[in-house]
């Protein structure tokens, strides 16, 4: 069995991998959902757009579900504290996601303009709200969240839902929505042609630039205005997980300290910028597949940046600093981390293999002709 301390770090990386997988896969179909009512102006155009993700959105959504399950299994305290603390935000994500399965599957089963337009806006909500809220959630994690534990490790969240919607968090929400929509636009440009593709390329430029601007604002704000957190007691990475056994302080600039300790991590925000720039330029040159790869790299860079800034913190507490959750003390037991590590190692390559196969079977442009030919079976 791999030693406990190493496994804790591996799991921090694996949660990152699952988040990146979620952002790349479910992100592109959420982005397509967000763009749907704007890029598609007639029913046929909208059906073309929906059918670019029709065969895949369900598999992609499992990245989200598995990510949730993996956090439950590997970081049970984070799962418990974040989901119950962010109660209304989580319900908003959940209820927004409700619109997706039914929106995709039910929309085109009835010939009625109002019915279809209702589900189109439902797909918009299901595509735009989750990334917005995840961004806001990350914005709050970076600032610290008001919660504490009692002696039985029962968690108490003392903030409010409206408190989550502070200016810095909202900027992070814009970063997240912009990057996901940008990524979705590149995917859409790759899978369509003609006027839809043209509009998707315009959207790619627009949201790519919005991403670059908001990411820069968030970075500057983080540098000058957001205090980070530091563990001030000695860290024993191999110790049993008990979040009350350490002491923590809040310090200006602490979120940037990791970049000084490990200069290689500066590559992460750089990849985010370069991916965005390359994605914009490549999409405009109609190199749509490479544009998609570039925006995927951009997402990886952004998530990596957030993770690297906060390491080893996962969910700092602003009201009771020592209750903060870190990769060292909010994790599962050694055995569970080990089993989940092997399970991931075995199944992740299989998942990537058959997902790629599914995309290759459905590869090619989705056209108005395709939708008409498959009137009764397409979405």
């Amino acid at each position: 069995m791999v030693d406990y301390e190493t496994l804790k770090i591996i799991w921090w990386l694996l949660v990152g991998v699952l988040l990146v997988g979620f952002a790349i896969m479910d992100g592109h179909d959420m982005g397509v959902g967000t763009l749907l009512p704007f890029v598609g102006r007639s029913d046929t155009e909208r059906r073309v757009i929906i059918n670019t993700v029709g065969p895949h959105w369900d598999g992609n959504q499992v990245w989200f579900i598995t990510g949730g399950g993996a956090i439950f299994a590997a970081w049970p305290l984070v799962y418990a504290t974040a989901f119950s603390g962010f109660y209304w935000a989580m319900l908003a994500v959940l209820w927004a996601l409700f619109f997706r399965p039914v929106g995709f599957d039910y929309r085109s089963k009835i010939h009625d303009a109002r019915w279809r337009s209702t589900w189109d806006w439902g797909l918009f909500v299901g595509g735009a709200v989750p990334p917005l809220i995840f961004g806001v959630a990350f914005g709050n994690l970076l600032q610290g969240v008001p919660f504490h534990f009692d002696e039985y490790l029962v968690s108490y969240y003392t903030g409010s839902f409206w408190g989550l919607l502070n200016p810095f968090a909202l900027v992070c929400g814009v970063v997240s929505t912009a990057m996901i929509t940008f990524h979705g636009a590149n995917y859409l440009a790759h899978r369509t042609e003609g006027v839809i593709q043209q509009r998707a390329i315009t959207a790619s430029t627009l949201f790519g630039l919005l991403f670059i601007a908001s990411f820069s604002v968030a970075g500057v704000w983080l540098y000058f205005g957001i205090d980070g957190y530091v563990i001030t007691s000695a860290v024993d990475g191999g110790a049993l997980a008990n979040p009350l056994a350490k002491s923590v302080s809040r310090e200006a600039g602490a979120w940037l300290a990791n970049y000084a300790h490990a200069p290689a991590t500066i590559a992460l925000p750089l990849v985010a910028y370069l991916g965005a720039l390359a994605g914009i330029v490549l999409a405009r040159g109609k190199h749509t597949l490479t544009a998609f790869v570039a925006s995927a790299l951009c997402l990886t860079g952004v998530i990596g940046t957030a993770g690297a800034s906060m390491f080893p913190f996962v969910m700092p507490s602003s009201s009771d600093l020592n209750s903060s959750l870190t990769v060292w003390d909010s994790v599962s037991s050694h055995l569970t981390l080990s089993i989940m590590f092997w399970a991931t190692l075995i199944f992740m390559p299989l998942i990537i293999f058959y997902t790629s196969w599914a995309y290759s079977v459905m590869a090619g442009k989705v056209t108005a002709g395709y939708v008409k030919e498959n009137e009764h079976s397409a979405y």
Binding site: G54, P55, H56, W57, D58, G59, Q61, V62, I65, T66, G68, G69, A70, F72, A73, P76, L77, Y79, A80, A82, F83, S84, Y87, M90, L91, L94, W95, L97, F98, P101, V102, F104, D105, Y106, K109, I110, L153, V154, S155, Y156, Y157, L240, N242, S332, S333, L335, T336, I339, M340, A343, F347, I351, Y354, T355, A358, V361, M362, H376, S377, A378
Partner: protein, 518 residues
């Protein structure tokens, strides 16, 4: 202390959303195999009608599946949102099967379901059949891992309490996976799903036959459903008996309540066919008893005794009193975690910790529990008898009614005359709700019967909740009621619309009602 209404509302929300989710799951479980069978016949015979069957029943399956996915995410979220302490306390064990379910099963099912619907023109016949098969395997593996998680709640094996991390931790993964409770539950539950899929196809096909519409299509569908249904209902009943046996080993309490068995009887115990349980008097006002049967089902022997409710409560009283000591010793140990003597003293009483925690419902300081509180906690340890007693009997009754229906359907299928027996076709149409009702009752018995625990003997339900306000619960319940009502109306509308239209909705030009297509 956690407020009663918070606990009650959290339970209500979980029960309602879980039972709602299970309106869609059993049909998915059963339909995937029905589709595999129909498509296999298509690949082997090359007859186009079997492809149409796969596509048409697949269309109805898809309408159902969409809501299954929608409502399934709710359950995953809810452990974190509403049951935070539960998630902390047992996430080390419970989270693993849920995550593996995603990795091993749900990815498989969800990736291939896309190709099932969209891949007809892009895949060879054999490859498409493989896709359908993988979808079915994924669906069933998904049920396996969920029921491993649920089985652990009923019979928490392979885990141990850790006083440093203040939670249960896994000690033996394979014990969790091969938990006899989980295995028995899995086979019983998926078989019930197969019955649901079979009933769905049987009923709707019978409806077409009664109207003499798309007769060849409906006849072929009916036959497959009758054969698959008969095999499945037989397996539900036999394997249900197997889970009865497991309940007997791991959870005598549930069994005693299901059977309204107040006093321990000399082995082998009789089975109450019908009784009027009197909760206050701890007796039955009336009963019709079948001798021996209960002992045989519960213990697979004629000599082992099954404890009655009175005896179980007395044992639990001892464990609660011992549990008070366990809680005190734990609290002392948490203050001095390095003290070897405290460690040893806690270890002696560790197994009764959960029973001590039952008192947390009545007092924050367990060591100050009064005899009245202990009495209340003892009474809590056995769930109310009447709801379990009657739900269980209704479920079993439905099972046997379906056995009769599928028996006749299969018999007349073999004879080839089923389409001429209008009574049989009518019975099949009217039986449509039966499997759903039986499935819901089954879950009610399993979960209500586990009370007052979320993890039997380990974690009381009232400690498992999140520290939310009652207002949040009312708000979220209102939201779920609103969403779920609208979704159900939309789903039923589409389901009825396409079921009525029949295979004409495929637009192939071979069936009735083509013009009515959408």
């Amino acid at each position: 202390m956690v407020s009663e209404s918070l606990v009650d509302l959290s339970r209500l929300q979980f029960a309602a959303t879980a039972m709602y989710h299970f309106l869609f799951v059993p049909l998915t479980l059963g339909m995937t195999w029905m589709l595999v069978i129909m498509e296999s016949v298509y690949v082997m015979t090359g007859k186009e009608v079997y492809k149409d069957m796969t596509r048409f029943w697949g269309k109805l399956f898809g309408i159902n599946f969409a809501l299954g996915v929608t409502t399934g995410i709710t359950l995953e979220f809810q452990f974190g949102t509403n049951w935070a302490y539960y998630s902390h306390y047992v996430g080390d064990i419970f989270g693993a099967p849920l995550a593996i379910e995603g990795l091993m099963a749900f990815f498989l099912e969800s990736t291939f379901i896309g190709l099932f619907f969209f891949g007809w023109d892009r895949l060879s016949r054999q490859r498409h059949l493989l896709v359908t098969l993988l979808m079915a395997i994924g669906t069933n593996l998904s049920a396996l891992w969920i029921l491993i998680a649920n089985g652990w709640m009923q019979n928490p094996v392979g885990a141990e309490f850790n006083y440093v991390t203040m939670r249960m931790e896994m000690t033996d993964f394979w014990a969790v996976v091969f938990n006899p409770d989980a295995q028995a539950k899995f086979v019983h539950t998926v078989s019930a799903g197969y019955v649901t899929g079979a009933m769905f196809v049987l009923s709707i096909s019978a409806w077409y036959l009664l109207r003499r519409k798309d007769v060849e299509f409906a006849k072929r569908s009916f036959r497959i459903a009758a054969a698959f249904g008969l095999a499945s209902i037989a397996s539900v009943i036999v394997l249900g008996d197997e889970s009865g046996y497991m309940v007997g080993e791991a959870q005598q309490t549930k069994m005693a309540a299901i059977e309204a068995m107040w006093e321990t009887e000399p082995a082998p115990a009789g089975l109450n066919l019908i009784a009027l349980p009197n909760e206050a008097g701890m007796r039955n006002d009336f009963e019709i008893k079948l001798p021996w049967i209960m002992g045989l089902i519960g213990t697979r022997s004629v000599s082992k005794q099954i404890p009655g409710i009175v005896e179980i409560k007395e044992k639990n009283r001892e464990r609660i009193i011992s549990g008070i000591e366990a809680v005190q010793r734990l609290e002392a140990l948490r203050k001095n975690p390095a003290d070897a003597e405290l460690k040893a003293r806690f270890a002696e009483r560790k197994d009764d910790l959960g029973f001590g925690l039952l008192l947390k419902k009545y007092t924050k300081d367990v060591s100050a529990a009064t005899p009245e509180m202990i009495e209340k906690a003892v009474n809590d340890t056995v769930p109310r008898v009447s709801p379990l007693f009657w739900s269980f009997r209704l479920m079993v009754g439905l099972g046997f009614a379906m056995l009769a229906l599928f028996g006749f359907a299969a018999w007349y299928s073999v004879k080839g005359s089923f389409a001429d027996h209008r009574w049989l076709l009518s019975a099949a149409v009217w039986s449509l709700p039966m499997p759903w009702l039986a499935c819901e009752l089954g879950w009610f018995v399993a979960e209500y019967g586990r009370q007052p625990w979320t993890i039997y003997g380990v974690l009381p339900t009232h400690l498992s909740v999140s520290t939310l306000t009652v207002g949040s619960l009312y708000g979220s319940i209102a939201g779920f009621v609103g969403f779920y009502t609208i979704l159900l109306i939309v789903e039923l509308y589409l389901m009825v619309k396409f079921a009525r239209q029949g295979p004409g909705s495929l637009g192939t030009g071979r069936y009735a009602n083509e013009s009515a297509h959408a």
